[in-house]
Symmetry: C3
Subunit: 316 residues, 3 copies
């Protein structure tokens, strides 16, 4: 694997899920894979799961691990080309990426969507600039439009839990007080397609995701209808894609509760965390024995582990 930007960088998704599950039984056997190699984890945004799980996976592999909060610890980066850099930005990403490539064998980057301008966010200026100028593999720790390590952890979790070959999975929009990015949802959809799951997206009118990504997926605007016979409910808020970054609905009608869950086929409940309890989902759903949220978080270690292994070995 040359880089891991989104799920398309995985050629055989099912195989990688299997390999990740195999790693779980003895991850520490991998301790020499990263020997004499280094990774830089660059954070432009807050992080709990990604920060710790990727550090852990890196250290398990024996990688020298450098964590950097880029905004506060480094220099403000310029991303535009041919600019006369006479304003606040002290370093061009071209130089930063090339320099970091001398220090790190893998550069991992977390930079969320700003949600101000769809075109800008879809340009993925931070990630794509590092991709352009780095001479080492780039690992996406959540970008404007994708969060593929989350998608892979979700796939591992579903694979470990499903009791039929082709489960019915509902990706359901849920309410949230703030404007949130589309990265997790996009990566979940791509992952479900790669695994040939029966995926239904359920969201209010005005909240349809990027049609290029949802192409071929059934979108149902009636949440209860969507939930019928579902094997997995994946809850996630996202801001409007059409009215980019806007919060259109503020009431609790789309919150995931016990009544809605009772419409399903005793479905498992999934969420990537962090989650606003009793806004996105009721306590008695997320705390039920059908909740997989902690397993999803745990599997972030193994999704990072298998991808880092592939990046180091540079195989598809």
């Amino acid at each position: 694997m040359k880089n891991f930007i989104n799920s398309d960088d995985i050629s055989d998704y099912k195989k990688i899920v299997e390999e990740a599950i195999q790693l779980k039984s003895n991850p520490n056997e991998l301790k020499d894979i990263g020997k004499n190699k280094s990774i830089g984890l660059l954070f432009f945004n807050p992080s709990l799961r990604t920060r710790i799980s990727t550090q852990k996976a890196s250290m398990i592999l024996g990688l020298k691990t450098f964590v950097m909060n880029f905004n506060s610890e480094g220099w403000q980066l310029e991303f535009e080309n041919n600019t006369i850099m006479s304003e606040d930005k002290a370093e061009h990403v071209k130089d930063a990426a090339k320099v970091l490539s001398e220090y790190c064998d893998i550069i991992a980057i977390r930079k969320f969507a700003d949600l101000n301008n769809k075109i800008d966010d879809e340009k993925e200026i931070v990630l794509s600039s590092f991709l352009k100028y780095s001479t080492v593999p780039i690992l996406n720790l959540e970008s404007s439009t994708f969060h593929p390590l989350q998608g892979l952890a979700d796939a591992i979790t579903i694979d470990e839990t499903k009791n039929k070959a082709r489960p019915k999975i509902v990706l359901s929009w849920a309410p949230h007080p703030k404007s949130l990015p589309h990265a997790v949802s996009n990566s979940f959809i791509k992952m479900a397609k790669k695994n040939n799951f029966e995926l239904i997206i359920s969201n209010p009118i005005g909240y349809d995701l990027n049609p290029e990504i949802t192409k071929g997926i059934n979108i149902i605007h009636d949440q209860k209808e969507a939930f019928i016979n579902a094997d997995f409910i994946y809850a996630k808020n996202w801001s409007s894609y059409e009215n980019y970054g806007k919060v259109l609905i503020n009431d609790s009608s789309w919150k995931i509760d016990k009544n809605k869950m009772s419409l399903t086929n005793n479905a498992k409940f999934m969420h990537c965390l962090p989650v606003r309890r009793n806004v996105v989902v009721d306590d008695d759903v997320i705390d039920s024995e059908n909740s997989l949220v902690i397993s999803q978080a745990e599997n972030r270690i193994y999704s990072a582990l298998i991808i880092l292994k592939k990046l180091i070995e540079n195989e598809r």
Copy 2:
């Protein structure tokens, strides 16, 4: 040892002090104890000694060590149950603690008292929430009411220095411009009780500490009287417990100086650091050969080392 919240988690205090002193001669022999294990060090407050000494002890044991400044690097945590999380807090501690338990074999937490509300501080909401929801041992790196690794480092330092079985120790209040927590003093008192030292507390009227903790200890409101024949003077400021968090006295009459030290039995001077020089204590006292402050700081490595060892081995 299941958790290390305060000195009561140590069943045989003298034995643990002895073991810590034994470790000092060759700490690096312990390098395999933490093999394939991880620790998360979560800081909600500034730290120098705790930050570096606990990192060092963790690394000596071979633990993968993750340091996180929770406020700036993670998500703002909700601690109340059953809340509708529609405000600023993005993640419930229940989820954060469970997730971190998947990544870490020990979770260490530093969160000071806010000193606004006694009842809230004594609830130890941060530490007790992690204790409640984590599935791994919790290590207290200073909470609202206790700083037991400091207490243990102080015990090691006294044990290495005392020239009689039962030294007379004075815990003396000293002035400070800001409102400070009670954690260090509380842990020192608990430690002194466990070691059966002759402890006297000396503080101005209005500054008596929590009577549940000081029960059975002689409190003398005349500092000079207290100092007579003392073998150790432990200086520490704390804000009023009765007028919770308030600074009642602002003058230098309680500052530790040479004259007061001359009343003692050539006493050793102790302070946990950081210290306001010439406010809490005069330079010529803290810089004298009787000062133990650097030894106390050094012993933070070994107090962390023995406790981490016990937590990993899960023995009392």
Copy 3:
């Protein structure tokens, strides 16, 4: 080597450059040199190259590596002696330095000039206080007046590239919107003297550097004249030394461009980074095949590696 404060701590500069170049072929052979030892990297200012390259070198040597952003993670330090510490500063550097000496076998410090007061900056209060109170070697990661690891990396880069024994090197002032310190330039000059290179400094009138440092060096106020037949152009902005910290010139007349480079002997272009592109230097110069900026950054690993090795081995 007892400390590494500036280039004068290197007795045989050419030998150390040779040794550093030898290390590059197999740095990982050094992995046991720092065994059971620790380093503290204290940052009072932002950093990319220094932060990651010094971490990397430390880890290559097997040192336990503690990175601390002192301003945000620790206590505000007092540097004056005999002060009554009743204001904002919570800890005296005397105590912090002694404590850190218990935890670390090397203390590395980055603290820039404030550029408000020449006398204060030249006192190097942060670095010299740690030097005074620490009991372990001090490593300068850029202080008010020197950046010797950059100077050494520059020497390594020149040595690897020069095609004559005594190249002509021009240290050229270049424009910048902000007021910048003199540390990099000072260390470059010291390094060039130690290596007996033919050094010319070129800067506008009013921008002459500290005459004690430039003594014996030809200063030419006509940039084009200086560039004639140069083998290396080292571009760097600095604020006025005479009108201390002031920016006197704001136009682009001193920017390094292709036309000026054409006056040279096909000179290599050097800069320590970060660089304001198209303010300090045009894209087509820094992006040309004659640019050495990425090699300079890469060599920061090896300058740190050789100096850390010398500090650990305590040899000159």
